[in-house]
């Protein structure tokens, strides 16, 4: 597809690149499933135990697998020089970066959200709890992608980027982790969970509005260092 709209062009370019490296885009999802399935082995296969730790386990595994997938975000753009061209295009960098992150979410966040009900079943969560889990991930995971991308933009081009990235990003993930896993726990205790989901939605909207600007500015800064 050839389009004059830079947002669409960017989105399709990244989706196309991602689908040509299928193995790489499957890794975060596989990681997600493997990590979750380790918990019954390490803690207990008892359904009541799994029920109570399940929401937290799935949320932490989702968070870590997004963190894992962030490692490759922007890296090839940075090394092959296309980042320079993106920064020098006459379109707002924030718009292009938003497209870049939407693409990233489609190939890493979305599969993880889709597969999460299955993991909910593995951890003996009830049907309505799985539904809340699904919604909470749908609202929370894009936030992880957005805010994570800020960290990537700041650390891109550094040698020890991986460990530093986790240190930068994880404290910023705390609110989403708390609200996300708590919404699911509340649902499993028959307590209301609308407030938590509303918080997740609020954080997502604010992050979507602000972080593209921060990301494009941060990339400009990182790119000025060679």
């Amino acid at each position: 597809m050839n389009t004059r709209n830079p947002f669409i062009a960017m989105l399709f370019r990244d989706l196309r690149i991602a689908f040509r490296q299928r193995a790489e885009i499957m890794l975060p999802v596989i990681f997600f499933v493997v990590v979750v399935s380790l918990f019954p082995l390490a803690i207990s296969p008892d359904p009541t135990v799994l029920k109570s730790i399940g929401p937290g386990v799935i949320w932490i595994a989702a968070l870590l697998s997004i963190l894992l997938s962030l490692q490759s975000l922007f890296r090839s753009d940075f090394s092959d020089g296309s980042m320079e061209q993106i920064l020098l295009s006459p379109f707002p960098g924030s718009l292009l970066m938003l497209a870049r992150i939407v693409a990233q979410w489609c190939v890493t966040g979305l599969p993880l959200i889709i597969i999460s009900p299955l993991l909910g079943l593995l951890l003996h969560l009830d049907a309505h709890v799985i539904w809340v889990l699904f919604i909470s991930l749908l609202l929370g995971v894009p936030y992880l992608n957005m805010v994570g991308a800020i960290g990537v933009a700041l650390t891109i081009g550094l040698r020890q980027a991986g460990a530093l990235l986790s240190l930068l990003v994880l404290p910023l993930y705390v609110p989403v982790l708390i609200f996300g896993s708590n919404a699911v726990i509340s649902a499993s205790n028959d307590l209301p969970y609308n407030g938590q989901l509303l918080w997740l939605a609020a954080l997502l909207v604010i992050a979507t509005t602000l972080s593209p600007f921060v990301i494009s500015f941060a990339l400009r800064v990182s790119c000025s260092y060679r």
Partner: protein, 213 residues
């Protein structure tokens, strides 16, 4: 080859620009200007700051001191307008390994934000990549990847070209075609800033030279 006029009163002005790397002044209070219909050839040995200077000119890096203006406006201030008129080619080609030649070229053109001067096919023929339209970038040699990047010089109707070592990795024939294109660009009122290890001489082109280091 079409030849449209790009206008003849644009000016890139560099005032007293300094830049230091690791406490060493790479560029020290440099001032010069390039106008429509002029070519600036920047010479210098390795590590003399050629690339740094070009990156500062294109706005990728910020000078420590001094300022750069495009038609009287600071390039920081009016980046969108400046970027519309700029084609920058750096060391890295910007070619994605997973995308085919045609996809790469199309992406460049949608990123440039201006209507294409030439069709993608004409550009592919110009750089001699016929038959490689659908080959992914990773199957191409460095020279071929550079050629993909060079198609932008044919397709983008921008006024200011900032080219870092445009001849690297190219054969004689392509160098000849490129020199022709440079001359055409300058004759049409374009501005050209380039670095090269090779000494090039363009006939009847208003050339100034800048020695670094």
């Amino acid at each position: 080859m079409i030849s449209s006029t790009l206008g003849d009163n644009s000016k890139l002005q560099v005032d007293n620009v300094s830049y230091e790397i690791n406490d060493k002044l790479i560029i020290n209070g440099m001032s010069f200007s390039v106008k429509s219909g002029e070519m600036l050839f920047i010479e210098g040995s390795n590590g003399s700051g050629k690339t740094t200077l070009l990156r500062i000119l294109s706005g990728l890096m910020q000078a420590d001191e001094g300022q750069i203006t495009w038609n009287g406006k600071s390039i920081e201030e009016d980046r969108i307008e400046f970027n519309q008129q700029l084609t920058y080619l750096g060391h890295s080609t910007g070619v994605k390994a997973e995308l085919s030649t045609l996809e790469n070229i199309n992406f460049f053109s949608s990123l440039s934000g201006l209507p294409q001067r030439e069709s993608s096919q004409a550009a592919i023929e110009w750089v001699g990549l016929q038959g490689y339209e659908d080959s992914p970038g990773r199957h191409l040699s460095y020279g071929q990847q550079r050629r993909i990047a060079l198609t932008r010089l044919l397709m983008e109707p921008s006024q200011l070209w900032v080219l870092d070592e445009p001849f690297a990795g190219l054969d004689k024939k392509m160098i000849g075609a490129l020199e022709l294109r440079f001359k055409e660009h300058v004759d049409n009122g374009g501005l050209l800033v380039l670095t090269s290890h090779q000494h090039i001489e363009l006939d009847q082109v208003n050339t100034s030279r800048l020695q670094l280091g």
